[in-house]
Symmetry: C2
């Protein structure tokens, strides 16, 4: 069974899937607890309760395992809710991001980006994918606002969303200050004011 | 000479000071080039041209050396210029921060925070000090704006400055997008619009 060439991890709910989830959870917990430089496949085996040889057979090295575990985690981007108005759309999205960052996912992001793992090509790749996947989703907020006449034509959606969430990541990665409803509300209000003022309208080009 | 108990590093311009600066520069360059987990005192010796035994005598371990080198670097916070108006004060400050982050200092911040060094108590301590030292300086901008009637009474200065610079750190640490005059201008304009709209006025408390 263990030597079969077919991909056992594709059977949802099967033993292989359970093993995979246990190993993924264990490697992320190890990185949060000790940092990446001190994480070993042996410690992952111990924490997951999965036999070392099973882990070695499946994942050739720790880098590969970590990248797979992160990819598995990052597969569920926050989908912005349609609340009918720009201010409340931004507030709802900021609150959803706060909930993600204030929970396990935030601890994992912080631990991975604050470790040597931040240098791995695979990690940079996932980060890039998460940011680019998120953008078309979140830019729906801006498109709807422009359609409703709440935001000026030419508002650059990517800039709006980056400004909305940047102070949240600033807290997560730099100041360590709380991620709560208040900061979500403030980020949304600040961004809405800037959008309304036309700050994010694309300029025709440098110096005319 | 080498065995004297007095503190030779205090003589500005002396041999010890030159050695110290060479070693500090070398450890930071090593971390930028290889990451912290792969940096060794031996590599620092080689890069700095300072003999290994001199380094070992002075710094007991790499953690101590890195923290001292970072402290030496972080001793010059950006002092906000007084341009006479909120919008231009914010723009000038954002531009000054962009210049710092787009240069060597940005590469060092990014390399240190994206490595196991981010977990060191000394590094967290310096980061905390930089943020708290910067705040009273940069909050001058808000105080002047309130005095001129450009910002509402009760505007929380810390929040304003964090919102101003957060998108810059977001680019530095997450997206890798360019840090240039355009982003500085946009951050300043967005923050000014939010300040004017009263977004950063302290609320009396949760639910009345």
């Amino acid at each position: 069974m263990a030597e079969q060439e077919q991909t056992p991890q594709r059977r949802p709910g099967g033993r292989s899937a359970r093993i995979q989830q246990a190993v993924f959870a264990a490697v992320l917990e190890e990185v949060v607890a000790r940092g990446y430089a001190r994480t070993t496949l042996g410690a992952v085996a111990e924490r997951s309760g999965v036999h070392r040889t099973t882990i070695y057979r499946r994942w050739s090295d720790l880098d590969t395992l970590l990248v797979e575990a992160l990819r598995d985690r990052s597969g569920h981007p926050v989908v912005p809710r349609d609340t009918g108005a720009l201010a409340t759309d931004l507030a709802a999205y900021a609150q959803d991001i706060v909930e993600v960052l204030a929970a396990d996912t935030g601890r994992i992001i912080s631990a991975v980006l604050g470790s040597e793992a931040a240098r791995l090509d695979g990690v940079r790749g996932i980060l890039g994918e998460v940011l680019t996947t998120r953008r078309p989703l979140s830019s729906e907020i801006v498109r709807r606002a422009v359609a409703r006449g709440e935001a000026p034509q030419g508002t650059v959606d990517v800039e709006v969303i980056d400004h909305l969430v940047a102070p949240l990541y600033f807290r997560l990665l730099l100041t360590g200050e709380p991620l709560d409803e208040e900061v979500a509300r403030r980020c949304a209000a600040a961004t809405a004011a800037a959008v309304t003022a036309g700050v994010f309208v694309r300029e025709p080009g440098p110096a005319s």
